[in-house]
Amino acid sequence: MTRAVDIQGLHKSFGDLEVLKGIDLVVDSHEVICLIGASGSGKSTLLRCINLLEPIDAGSITIAGENITGEGVNVDATRRKIGIVFQAFNLFPHMTVLRNVTLAPREVLKASKAEAERDAMALLERFGLADKAQDYPDRLSGGQQQRVAIVRALAMQPDIMLLDEVTSALDPVLVAEVLDQIRELAEQGMTMIIATHEMGFARDVAKRVCFLHEGQILEEGSPEQIFSEPEQEETRVFLDRIIAAGRM
């Protein structure tokens, strides 16, 4: 199995605040990793660093054998291979769903309009969004918007998908449709790193779960091990709080 992502000794600070304090993480191709941990533990920052949205202070990130944090890396070319979906959807409000999905393929991959639209429609069809193609994002429910955001990232045919708490901004009744979409991606073998508060989902879909605490991966293992018999005290405390909040 090849390594899709190889992160070594990653450090990241915002001013005086050190958010990531030495992260080591290896993700194999077709593997689904879930990052869990309290807000502020560094999950989002880690994902943004992998996508080069944040410059890193120390360490290295290697994607498919290529060091992307070295000198002279083509940032735009690297990002193309990594899809990221944000908590707040971030669809482009002035474009229809179809334009949202076709923008990057047309501008970045230089696909023709017909080609890009055909591929986009196929993706929208696959995720039950074909009838929304001509709608503007604000006409859609939160769940539909997030599914479009996932389709938009998929349209670039990424090797890896990063999902940053993609259901946290959603109405509870809309969470399921988004999780189903991600589950489908996992079954099809997409390599994914998922930051999530949905523990049931993480247990289902993840091959490995990493518990982040204060900028470090404190514990990692199979979902069964992390959720049933965590070794670290902090992990137990975190999971107890999640259970108390009724999220598991």
């Binding site: 949205l53 193309r80 990594i82 944000f86 669809l91 482009f92 501008e107 990232a153």
Partner: protein
Amino acid sequence: MAQSGPGPNVYFPPGGESDPRMPPGSGDRWPKILGGRDANARNVWVAVASTVIFFGFLAIVVVRSPGWPAIKESFFNGAEFHASFPVILQKFVRNIFIFCIAEVLVLILALFIAVLRSLPGPVFTPLRIMAAAYTDLFRGVPTILVIFLLGYGMPALELQGIPDSDYLWGILALTLVYSAYVAEVYRAGIQSVHPSQVAAARSLGLSRWQSMRHVVLPQAVRRVIPPLLNDFIGLQKDSALVFVLGVVDALGQAQIIQQGDFNFTPFVALSLIFIAITIPQARFVDWLIARDQRKRQSSAV
């Protein structure tokens, strides 16, 4: 007592289509002017009465003032108005020509400056400084001085190829001044687009410029259309300033007539022409703002 329609204490959001007391399409301006926020029938009557009394009193004071006959003769002279209005209107075509060309140039130049000023990263510091210096300079110097300096200064250089056209320098001066204002308007629009939009665009592999072009600018321009039109109204009025270069525009024509018979009515006539073109635009801007507000409110639900 039977009451038709809601009582005076029922709150309707301003400008709502649902308010049965307002004629359709009346917007939210008239009720606010007539009677303030709680525009019921009684308030409207009070508003009308107090308005008539106030302005009637003002008119009586003015008309009965000792100098009024002389003022009326030299500023509001009917015959003079009839004679001068068509001539001035004819020359107003030149103002329209000037401000239309200037507006197109402003749209382009201002956008260029705003984009320069919004470039991120330390490499672009010189460009940002230049753009900032430009806006500071041309917002600081009075428009009429810029027109003087360009209109008299540039031809005086007697450089080969520098044209000696009052129109050209007038248009250029207006373009330079108003681009400084409009660039700031654009910049405010660019900054109002949330950084997460850029993050989303960049994460899809779009370059800095592609993100600007396809994601930031379309949203920014849409948001700044009302303030942009406001600046254009200013520009249209200032098109009259090029007369200082000897261009016989509407103001030049009005002055020619005024100097012929020492009657100021042509200036009043020209004022009416300017009012006639700027008021519809001002109302259009109001309508745009109200529409945007409605849109935002309805999408926020």
